[in-house]
Amino acid sequence: MRRNNTNHSSLDAQDGVITQKSRSRVNAYLTHHLWVLVSSLGVLWRTPLATLMTASVIGIALALPTGLHVLLQSVQQLSTGWEGTAQMSLFLKSDVPEKRIQSLADKLRGWEGVSEVRYISREQALAEFREQSGFGSALDSLDENPLPAVLLLFPTAEAAEPIQMGLLLGKVQKLDSVDLAQLDMEWVRRLSGIIEVGKRGVLLLGGLLALAILLVVGNTIRLTILSRSQEIIVTKLIGATNAFIRRPFLYTGFWYGLMGAVLAWLLVAILLSLLGDPVNRLSFLYNSEFSLGGLDLETVAMLLGSGIALGLLGSWLAVGRHLQAIEPS
């Protein structure tokens, strides 16, 4: 009624009327979306057991790769901690005089990728060994100090990568005074190799499980479509667009995905808290700082995002395949 009045008032008001009208159309569109969002949840709510079962399947399928991802992250964190402390030991020939060692240390300090060089003289090495090994008396029986002088070489943060360290090792080994150069990093490299394999495995597993989720959601939506074919026909007959008909099914897929992802979140959180204590105890026994990480924000966001995306995609595929087939006749 009010709109009619403005219409009558003057032609100038027409623009206003049109924008007001189109704005109310947009509002109605958004309201409709919201309504479908809520009502599709309501429909799922009315069959709680069936909904929970579908959501659980999705949840478990999502929880598996997520849990493994968290585990890998924890291991990786541990190994990056070690990579930071990578060092190279240069065992020097025993006949190199003190002076040349000092100048060699100075020279190495000037090299690229070297942050620090520490000199451990033969005497220092002996004292250290005596203190730590408990073989003091055995050493006393020796005529001379069997230990070589050592230069400890610490790389800069950028150079602390396997490849760069390997290059540095090659250069150092060519030095005259150096008897043996050793990189204490082999096993770190192996570990990071294992982690790479693990990551690839989680990715592949995740891909397979994503496919399974698509099938589960797709099949569930297909059954919903079939059970509501009469409704689809009637709404098509009174002028519903395909988008309108598709919408509730897409939102249903959205809810399945979201519920599955939240369930997966819960599952992983529970598993981590159950595993946390024993893992900490074990790592304490190994004198390790290893501990299971929690679900960080990024992982949770990825979990929720992929759950929703898979739910939407699964229902999209089902709707695309089965909606065309349902036409009034």
């Binding site: 109605a28 409709h32 007959l237 009174i238 519903a240 036409e327 009034p328």
Partner: protein, 231 residues
Amino acid sequence: MIKFDNVNKRYPSGHEALSGVSFHLEPGEMAFLTGHSGAGKSSLLKLIACIERASRGNVIIDGQNLTRLKSRHIPALRRKIGVVFQSHNLLYDRTVFDNVALPLIIAGYHQSEVGRRVRAALDKVGLLGKERLMPITLSGGEQQRVGIARAVVNRPPLLLADEPTGNLDPELSREIMGLFEQFNQVGVSVLIATHDHDLISRLDYRLLTLKQGKLEQGGRTSEMQILRAKT
């Protein structure tokens, strides 16, 4: 409003449902479509709502040629046509209000507008107090009136009805026909397919008679008794 120009409809099975059908229903006109079952009434209505496409000839609705209509434009066409079905085709998991509101929600009307129009439509068919009920609790005649309210709530320029009184007793049938006449009086074009000769012979509207897919020479419903008496 409806223009058929030498229309043929042949189904993939080979059955020719309509052949050489031509007629023109003017805007604001009301007409009845009769014929034995299998004569092609349903096929003709399906062509109008673009549920089926003509095999040959042109079907023009409100200036739009359906032969060349792209399928994405079909929803817009159907919103201009209110359809009343013999089997009501109501959604039984929703209230009367929600059933009648459906065309408006599809067309994207605002909430307040929806409520106003639904109540107006229900008032017109005499069901204003029953908007919160489920359709299954209503009688057959009431369900049919819900169907009519849904067909007219969007104020379409054209109203189609397929055996709208098929399952109703004579008195209810007369009421329903009265409703269609009321809509026609406010300018809606109406085409009703029916085989209820007794009912429509009391009225005076244009008559389209189909016989084995062909349209017979026209007449008026009021002349039906005379015509039948002659044969």
